[in-house]
């Protein structure tokens, strides 16, 4: 699948997909979208990179780091990062839920506040967004960990 057509398409499409994913994620509270959808779309973008190039492409060519080829896939830095990501995501969801306990509310109850920011104007800050960040991280980390390991087989 690593043809020129594929690579060129991936180059053009991936940034757009990522931006769309982030916007879907952010607008989720009021418009269609949210943590899960944004997460899956992000995963799709990364998977496209893997299909068109390979697992080390991001590390080597984009971030210009050296990849140690000796260790197995499970110790691979990318996989470790994804593993950390979904662990972090779970921690964030749990913490955002437990945070409500500090204010005397029940576990996982959410609240929101409107604040005025320069440039953006009236912006709604919802604790639900924090929860959604956690979901997003779990989806991205979990799915990509699976794909990168399975894809390396």
């Amino acid at each position: 699948m690593t043809t020129i057509i594929m690579k060129t398409t991936a180059r053009v499409v991936v940034p757009i997909v990522l931006v769309v994913a982030i916007s879907l994620f952010l607008q989720g509270h009021n418009l269609p979208g949210g943590g899960f959808i944004g997460g899956v779309l992000t995963v799709a973008a990364f998977t496209l990179v893997y299909v068109a190039y390979d697992l080390d492409y991001l590390e080597v060519s984009v971030l210009e780091r050296d990849v140690d080829p000796g260790t197995g896939i499970f110790e691979h830095r990318t996989v470790t990062t994804y593993r950390r990501l979904f662990t972090l995501g779970l921690a964030v969801t749990l913490a955002s839920g437990a945070g409500a306990l500090l204010f005397g509310a029940e576990f996982l109850s959410q609240t929101f506040e409107y604040v005025h920011l320069p440039l953006f104007g009236e912006v709604e800050l919802a604790t639900a967004l924090l929860f959604d960040v956690g979901i997003y991280c779990v989806v991205v980390g979990g799915l990509l960990a699976i794909f990168s390991v399975v894809g390396a087989e």
Partner: protein
């Protein structure tokens, strides 16, 4: 006087906390952590001892909606058991610190031993039936870990598994008994059979008043089932015939474990619960079942102990026999029964723990545990020999040692019952006497390890270190103390313990004095001791007779039955495996889908008739989209390469997404689109690994798969029909509520998202945990594949 709440809770929780901190302690202290364990046990002993004289319930709510609370009930019986567990625990930990010198896995060993002691204290004090069950099973689990201490030896594995299967199986019977009891209690004390009450203290309290729970059980015909289930549970735990065979097997554990678990504590749990429930279940059925069971075990255990070749095996069978004695005592419906049971609980724990520790010393110093290879050890081990002298004679029930008093009480109970009932009831005292003859025989045999001739083959015997001898000496000292001042021990502990196990109408007053005139029970003692001592010189001939009987009955030995049962289970599960566990993903998928559909459809079938299909007003656009989806689905089956198959399949997926848009579910549509895209990408990722063509399709496989597809489709169809809201496009009450509340309380106009992140955030959290778990499973499975897990 009511007990202090914090003392009870601390006493039970302390061993568990100590077990959790043990790895840290091991870092700091090394092997001396055993003494820290002894200190913890001593602290528990002190806490429990400070409760002596108090009685009452302390509790803290756990599951209030189900009336489950962590309730602890303090009375004489609980205190007696808890004092024994923690007191003997002190000596065991001190002994282990020396005995387990240089052994591996000490952290696991001590932590489990501590957790075990905590569970025993929990069982002793538990007054909530569910909490009791919890601690009860914890003792089984800890025991499993400790028996399997030598985890890489087949013998250990076999014995640990056997103990686990028997005692946990018994625990399940206890659960059934508990549920029967609690639902009957619900009728008497609460709102009805479906409002169960788990408060054991309250249940027992009704026995003295009108409308008792045992009467309720009898009315509903559940008295006998409840009694039998509890008896099986207690019998499995306390090694009663025919479930006694796990106990001798458990002797593969290190000796301190044998001394603690399999003589003084864990096996007493069954006796303890029988004593606890005696006031509730007491009656003619109880007497027949429990006393019969106990006496049978007492005899069988004593007879097999005589032919034991290993000193630990001898002690193990003797333990079973003495447990039988206690069970039988509680079986008898006279006041002597309660007295004998409570008193012997104390006596047996003292002498048996000491004897096990002695056996450990002998094995450690003489290098052998075989009865025929040992003898004349008193010259090499004088202090140990003195300890054995006191404890073995006490085990035999020789006056004036303390074991005599409790045995005499049992004889009195058996005699009284026989005198009152007459006829066949005379079998009770007869059996008890016969069992005691054998008890005297094997006790003397154990003593002869020290007194008899020194065999030729026995090499040099080392002097044990004082750290090994001190714990059994302490126990023997306690035994002597009870011997010299029996009335003092009775006043302190036994009287209150026996009171708690007495049925209504029994006047319990424990006495221990040497009989000065001949009576029935005294005659029984005389016969037992006399015949035992007289037969001892002819031990070999007795052994030959016993051996002959043992061989004749080989076919019905429970061990053989157990092995046969296990082999049968393994064979039949192997048969099932050939169907289910083929190693092919497609067969797993087949079974999983078929099972899910079967269960779902069965569920629908039991709940009633399918709803009528109403309002088929589907817009033309939807029909078109769904039609394309159907065509795509059909053409997937006709494709001949993977790429076309995948692409056709994604047509179906995208059509479904469009359907969602038409049905005004933009969030769903987005999700469907994104997931569909991702699936396509995954297929592209793995497509090179798949075989290029499908090969020949067998007709039978095709038919089977087609049938499954139809069933899955039908299930989905029926589910949608049942779940979908009634037609007409109006929102259901729940939906309206969500739509109204989302902007106000969630601050978002996307109702779906507000539901996901706020109203039903718990569901979302669960789902995200599922994703993380799936990722971890994939990582683990793939990582383990290369590790030679071939068996």
């Amino acid at each position: 006087m009511a007990p202090e709440r914090w003392i009870v809770f601390t006493a039970v929780a302390l061993p568990f906390i100590a077990a959790a901190l043990l790895p840290l302690g091991y870092r700091l202290l090394g092997e001396r952590v055993g003494y820290a364990g002894a200190a913890v046990a001593a602290a528990c002993f002190g806490l429990v001892a400070s409760l002596v004289g108090t009685s009452g319930t302390v509790s803290t709510p756990w599951i209030p909606s189900m009336d489950v609370a962590v309730r602890f009930y303090v009375d004489g019986w609980a205190l007696l058991f808890a004092l024994l567990a923690s007191g003997i625990g002190v000596t065991i930990f001190a002994y282990s610190a020396r005995y387990m010198h240089g052994m591996p896995n000490l952290v696991r060993f001590y932590a489990t031993l501590l957790a075990f002691m905590g569970s025993i204290l929990g069982v002793a004090f538990a007054s909530d039936l569910l909490v009791l069950f919890l601690f009860w099973e914890l003792t089984s689990v800890c025991s499993f870990v400790l028996i399997g201490y030598h985890a890489d030896e087949a013998e250990s594995q076999f014995s640990a598994r056997m103990a686990m299967l028997i005692t946990v199986g018994g625990g399940l019977c206890l659960l059934v008994g508990i549920l029967l009891l609690s639902s009957a209690a619900g009728v008497v004390l609460g709102g009805g059979a479906f409002d169960p009450t788990f408060d054991l203290a309250a249940i027992l309290a009704t026995e003295t008043s009108e409308g008792s729970i045992s009467a309720q059980l009898e009315d509903s015909g559940l008295f006998l089932p409840a009694l039998v289930f509890v008896t099986v549970a207690a019998g499995a735990k306390s090694a009663q015939v025919p479930l006694h065979f796990w106990l001798p097997r458990a002797m593969v554990a290190p000796t301190p474990v044998s001394a603690f678990l399999h003589s003084a504590t864990m096996v007493k749990v069954g006796v303890y619960i029988l004593g606890r429930l005696r006031p509730l279940f007491g009656g003619p059925e109880w007497e027949l079942l429990i006393a019969g069971l106990g006496l049978a075990t007492m005899t069988v255990g004593a007879v097999i102990a005589v032919r034991a070749v290993d000193i630990k095996e001898l002690l193990a069978y003797s333990t079973a026999s003495h447990l039988g004695l206690m069970v039988a005592a509680f079986g008898f419906q006279v006041h002597y029964g309660a007295e004998a049971g409570a008193f012997h609980l104390l006596n047996h724990a003292l002498f048996k723990a000491a004897l096990f520790l002695v056996a450990g010393i002998v094995a450690h110093e003489a290098g052998s545990r075989r009865v025929d290879e040992l003898g004349g050890l008193w010259r090499d081990l004088p202090v140990t020999a003195a300890i054995t002298g006191v404890t073995a004679l006490s085990m035999a029930g020789i006056p004036p040692l303390h074991g005599f008093y409790s045995k005499e009480l049992l004889f009195a109970a058996a005699w009284d019952v026989a005198e009152a009932s007459g006829g066949l009831a005379w079998l009770y005292p007869a059996t008890a006497t016969v069992a005691s003859v054998f008890t005297v025989l094997y006790s003397l045999r154990f003593l002869w390890l020290f007194l008899g001739d020194r065999p030729e083959g026995l090499g040099s015997v080392h002097r044990p270190s004082p750290a090994l001898v001190a714990p059994p000496a302490l126990l023997a000292g306690a035994a002597l103390l009870v011997t010299v001042l029996p009335e003092r021990a009775i006043d302190l502990l036994v009287q209150d313990g026996a009171l708690a196990t007495a049925t209504a109408g029994e006047t319990v007053s424990v006495h221990a004095e040497l009989p000065l005139e001949l009576s029935g029970p005294v005659a029984m003692s005389l016969v037992a001791v006399g015949v035992g001592v007289a037969l001892f010189p002819a031990y070999d001939r007795v052994l030959a007779v016993v051996d002959g009987g043992y061989r004749l009955s080989r076919a019905v030995h429970p061990t053989a039955l157990y092995r046969g049962l296990l082999a049968e289970i393994e064979r039949s599960s192997g048969g099932v495996r050939r169907w289910l566990h083929t190693g092919l993903i497609r067969s797993y998928v087949w079974w999983a889908l078929a099972g899910t559909c079967a269960i779902t459809l069965a569920g629908y079938a039991t709940t009633g008739a399918p709803p009528a299909i109403a309002g088929l007003g589907v817009p033309a656009a939807m029909v078109l989209v769904l039609g394309v989806a159907v065509v795509a689905a059909l053409s997937v089956t006709a494709t001949d390469t993977h790429v076309t198959g995948v692409l056709t399949l994604s047509i179906l997926g995208f059509m479904v997404a469009i359907f969602y848009i038409l049905a005004s579910g933009p969030d769903l549509a987005l999700t469907q689109l994104v997931v569909e895209t991702l699936l396509l990408l995954i297929f592209l990722l793995v497509i090179e690994e798949l075989p290029a063509f499908y090969g020949e399709l067998e007709v039978s496989v095709a038919v089977r798969d087609a049938a499954l597809s139809l069933v899955v489709g039908a299930t989905a169809f029926v589910s949608v029909l049942l779940v979908a809201p009634p037609g007409g496009g109006s929102l259901s009450g729940t939906a309206k509520e969500y739509v109204e509340r989302a902007p106000k309380e969630g601050g978002g106009t996307n109702v779906v998202n507000v539901i996901l992140t706020d109203f039903r955030a718990f569901d979302t959290l669960g789902e995200s945990i599922v994703i993380a778990m799936a990722a971890m499973s994939v990582l683990v499975l793939l990582a383990m594949r290369g590790r030679g897990e071939t068996r």
